[in-house]
Amino acid sequence: MIQVVLPRNLQSLAGTGRTVELDVSGQATQRSVLDALEARYPALLGTIRDPGTKRRRPMLRFFACEEDHSDDPIDAPLPGEVAAGKEPYLILGAIAGG
């Protein structure tokens, strides 16, 4: 199971805790993980990726294994530790605003 850590506002929107576990079929990529996340929690549709273009929202970033994967190709494999469920895939909101 892949672990995904959500920012606080998305936790409340999805009605879940900080970490969710997802069963992702096939290779673990950012696209497959985000697709699985949105399928499990439809309330999150459009909040992480633009609903039309599917591009990452500009004030969110994706981290895994202490590396920033925000600008990686969406279909690139995620680190093996993430795919194995040993390390989480983190969705972070920019620290900005008030």
Partner: protein, 366 residues
Amino acid sequence: MLVGTRKGAFILNSDGTRKSWDVQGPLFPGWEIYHLKGSPVDPDRLYASQSSGWFGQVMQRSSDAGKTWETVGNQFLYEGEVGPHKWYDGSPHPYEFKRVWHLEPSLHDADSVYAGAEDAALFQSKDGGTSWAELPGIRTHKTAAEWAPGAGGLCLHTIIIDPTDHDRIFIAISSAGAFRTDDAGKTWRAINHGLRSNHIPDPDAEVGHCVHRLAMHPSKPETLYMQKHWDVMRTDDGGENWREVSGNLPTDFGFVIDVNANDPETVYVLPITSDSLHFVPDGKLRVYRSKTGGDDWEALTKGLPQEDCYVNVLRDAMAVDGLDPCGIYFGTSGGQVYASADDGNSWNAVVRDLPGVLSVEVQTLK
């Protein structure tokens, strides 16, 4: 009372005396709630626009008067070819959906609701918000390439459905002006004749006027009142011609305007110092009332702070109830919500310390 704020929504309940209020919330804490409004057909059906600079647009629906909510559709896609509008510097800028500013439930179907968006567009849902379709006639208006955003964005912020003819709808866009459709949104005409805006190259232009708010009394749908960037205006022919009714106001800049539920000639505005000073003049929070449909205004101050007050009241943050005497309500950038249960003669702070208020709506339940 349905209150949208910069950090969540609140529902305030009172009985007909409107003396004490029970405050529920925050709903959707941490999110900007630009607007929430109930269906006049089924007051238990509420719609809310929830948005965030981080997470985009979320739409919420309640079928039990706000006790529980469910997320509904948040895909707002512009139809067909999407042209440019003008950017602040006059250069062309592509239309891009940012958020829903205003929700206007249908007058005859609880599952039907309009949404006014930034960048300026009108959407409609006929399935309770599950899906949204653009009514592209307004965004593709012949003047649309000339529209430019106001300081708050290029937003379609006002939607008024004519209660005698549901195909006739009035909208306002900052800073394009006012528009009217007579065919349920297929085609639109600019209705800005008589407006004069000295800050635009042609003060009498067909479009380019920063209209902040329109208001109508349901018994007199040919008459509309307007709070423009500067100037309070009135039309008696459905927007064909406007005349200024600012009269003796201390300043005619402001955002809100509303009409007493029991008298179509009694109007309320809340003057703001200027476009560069978005707070009330002289440190005094004053609602101004005209009982003559404009021109002659009186300050209403009883119960409102008359020193050291420097708040703003945004365009969707005033509402009236349907009781007699009429209740008037408004919320401030400082998080206070004030209410009057006597046509505006006296006021009380219902709450004082909410996040900055973006919108106030009232449902009168029987």
